[in-house]
Symmetry: C2
Subunit: 333 residues, 2 copies
Amino acid sequence: MRAPLGQAFLAIKLVGILALSTAAARAADPLPSWNDGKAKQSIIQFVAKVTTEGTADSVPPAERIAVFDNDGTLWAEQPMYFQFAFALDRVKALAPQHPEWKDKEPFASLLRGDVKGALAGGEPAIVQIVMATHAGMTTEEFDTIVRNWAASARHPKTGRLYTQMVYQPMLELLAYLRANGFKTFIVSGGGIEFMRPWTEKVYGIPPEQVVGSSIRTRLETRDGKPVLVRLPEIDFIDDKEGKPVGIHQYIGRRPIAAFGNSDGDLQMLQWTAAGSGERFCLYVHHTDAEREWAYDRQSSIGRLDKGLDEAKAQGWTVVSMKDDWNRIFPSGK
Amino acid sequence: MRAPLGQAFLAIKLVGILALSTAAARAADPLPSWNDGKAKQSIIQFVAKVTTEGTADSVPPAERIAVFDNDGTLWAEQPMYFQFAFALDRVKALAPQHPEWKDKEPFASLLRGDVKGALAGGEPAIVQIVMATHAGMTTEEFDTIVRNWAASARHPKTGRLYTQMVYQPMLELLAYLRANGFKTFIVSGGGIEFMRPWTEKVYGIPPEQVVGSSIRTRLETRDGKPVLVRLPEIDFIDDKEGKPVGIHQYIGRRPIAAFGNSDGDLQMLQWTAAGSGERFCLYVHHTDAEREWAYDRQSSIGRLDKGLDEAKAQGWTVVSMKDDWNRIFPSGK
């Protein structure tokens, strides 16, 4: 029985070696949720270029600024922007304190569950909903409201926490860039104070590296302590032409890499691309109706139309979620 | 001759040991320009407290946010705010393109060298001077203008570059805090884009950690490239009540340490102090008429009046430049 036992040992040994080398290969791949292909290659090539010292393309770490849109780029945005879902939840929570809402649009429609009816009022209706739910409290109170919501509210389709509806490949990309000396920023049309309470935990991006839309605040004294009160006045809209403005205002230098998914990100990508030296621009294209959603030129949420043309013209990387990502969300397929 | 030679060797050896231990002591002192005393002690004790892990006072590195005023706290501000000296230099440089300034206040007075006369027009005059010199160009053009000025303009009293009129003890403090895991930010009433071009080199503070007053910018296309144009409209005044607003807007979390020198910093220090857990607030008090300037309650520049009372009432650290600093500027005494 010696020989078979020996063979068995040898087989075990070989399996072990194979398992080890697969693990090593996996450990060596910083982007395991990205299928091998042009998109993944373009990222790795860009990072290698700017981080190889002593070459013409090399960029010092302090200037390795990467900016990411949030809605549709780092987390999902269907069937509605998650911040709008937050606002709707807040309208319901606040309704008992506002009996007048029963007869007042857009709140009356919302409280009947008729989102379309509420939005018939257009932008003024949206502003009313945002201000009623995002202003009137201190910054600390709003922080708590957002934290509680993020810890409990669930997506209508998947039943997951919204913060679990982030894209696993993008989490890997963020970590990969940071491991290569990049400083990663969010530059989103979403509310800056709606994102900051959870971006550090979810994306590893601290509050001071989050740029977004904002309402004004004012310093007041309450119970002998200074507080900042959130006012129902728009301060800054960090979308489209606003994105380069926000980047300049908050970051103060031009990114060398930019990641977006919609026409709202186009100016940010163009601003990034217009700098001198090696640059990287990437669009996430929502092409996976099965595992996520498929939409682009015709969508009212996250429309990607002009951006798709510009990406082609400029040779930017376009990620097909269906083809380039072997996994979409951290849990599940 | 043996014994004397032996003694000489011994003496050389002793001198060597002494020199070494002095060097070691110097290397061990992170704040060599600070005299031993209450101010220095309070800084070191605070840093030890928040960085000693496993204690109630311990603060995780991500939350070790320290904010510094600039004018009068990190660099001098007499006989006028350096940014105002920049504006005056720009008025002179731009005068040939503005023949109408010869008969138009406040420019006419300025061009005659009569600063007092120009400032007789009050705030509207100052705004006119600022807008004429800080707006109307792209952000890249303004960056170049500031860099060139910082590399060449000299202080009227000392003849040094303005960027050499920074406080050596504060440079040591910045480095000491960063070595202890702090993230250091500037929060200044000065213009954010006036500071960013040189703060990284001079203070080790990158552009994205600079908060200041700002004018609006707008995205335009010039020669087929996107540019940001600086508009003659105030966006944000980062002074007094504005400092907590700016801290919240740009940094998104409350600092645990704040450093200022005037009543314009009072709300920033109060905002910092009002957080829970260990906090540190420090005022630089200009008490050295010989090596720097001496001014406080009566000064129109950098007035420190209410702040001095509040510091006493709250037990904040007050640095006397004359007594607590053995060196003021990096070069010279």
